[in-house]
Amino acid sequence: MKRVVITGAGTINALGHNVADTLSSMREGKCGIGALDFRDVDRLAIKIGGQVHGFEAEGLFNRQQMALYDRFTQFALVAAREAVAQSGLTFSGELAAKSGVVMGTSGGGMQTLDENYRTVYEDGKNRVHPFVVPKLMNNAAASHVSMEFNLKGPSFTVATACASSNHAMSQAFQMVRSGMAPVMVTGGSESMLCFGGVKAWEGLRVMSKDGCRPFSANRNGMVQGEGAGMFVFEEYEHAKARGADILAEVAGFAMSSDASDIVMPSKQGAARAIAGALQDAGINREDVGYINAHGTGTAANDKTECSAVADVFGPHADNLMISSTKSMHGHLIGGTGAVELLACIMAVKDGVIAPTINYEEADPECALDVVPNQAREAKVDVALSNAFAFGGLNAVLALRAV
């Protein structure tokens, strides 16, 4: 089996339009969540989110590209450009033929769906723009990343709701580890902050009207975000031979299914994924210094997740740090694991642990070190990134310092 390292990272989200700004916001414990700004927001009960502001497609894409790219595709391309540029790779010949892109998204082109449903249902028009299908399809972002960077190997999109990015990155990891691909571009993107997107979530009654407070006793739900995170996963010898800067090693992963409930999380399912990732990576539980939690800020997730961590780590659960950066960037649904992997890279590479902000009141059911409100410096060799999706589909990645 090959070793797999990360040689490029890119992002756009409510905390920043690139990795440097995002990590500095995380270090400062900044909150990217605020008032939502889009059409008909006054008809929503939930009016807050981690929206990306100040993003202009013009100048980044030509006119034909803008006509073809939903916002989730634009986010994916912006993040992929940053990641690929950092890696220093250009794809041609054999490298291009074997390298691909695996992306996660839950809603795909939701903005396009929303706008065009409005056109035919609300405005009563009988004609829609011809690009509706190529814009809204869930694989659009992966396809455009493949086209922009000449990635001609295995490429597809994974949809497992809130775990989509982690499942996608797990697939990419497996491909590089097995020797199938020397390089994979991978991550996730989501842009669900539109009237229909938020209205649908409202219906489930799991959203907070006033803020995301993971692990805090007074938490009252999740807050949606939007954006993308993209990475270059590269075979270690390939990266070393060309003298690439290595951000971290992807050491292992595991996936599991609760096989129990379509919305309620399961401690056993989460615990099996966490323990599985340690086993896959050959890591002792005592070596884990940081976990980027799924940490949605709902009553059910946070206590179930803490309980699963306590079960897997035993006494070491009290020594490790676990934080939810969703408190800052919101829940990016299918893109969330990708943005959260940045916090894991920051932990193992820079020794900075991103905080759980908005932490106000201890909850005895979440009695772990959740790094409340302020970032912390700590040497961490191994970090885990948890994602537990609606539908009971779990995926956990393990990163190791290089």
């Binding site: 004609r127 011809p130 190529p134």
Partner: protein, 85 residues
């Protein structure tokens, strides 16, 4: 604006050209308009004249609508507009 001028304007915009660069003899291929550009042009024409253009991308030559050059497209649109009136 006449039907002819409007159609030329739409095609020129799609081809990223000045309307004066689009001649009646130009084919879509000459103008660099690909299959997606064609369906986007037809959409814009339908929107501009509020008509339905009988064009199926699977059988472009079988359609009632002749797209062999700019003149044939204009003739087809003029007929659809006058049929509608």
């Amino acid at each position: 604006m006449s039907v002819k001028d409007k159609v030329i304007e739409i095609i020129a915009e799609q081809a990223v050209l000045e309307p004066s660069d689009v001649t009646l003899e130009s084919t879509l291929e000459d103008l660099g308009i690909d299959s997606l550009g064609l369906v986007e042009s037809i959409f814009a024409i339908e929107e501009a004249f509020d008509i339905t253009v009988p064009f199926n991308a699977n059988e472009p030559t079988e359609s009632d609508f002749d797209i062999s050059n700019v003149a044939s497209i204009i003739a087809g649109i003029e007929k659809l507009v006058s049929d509608q009136a």
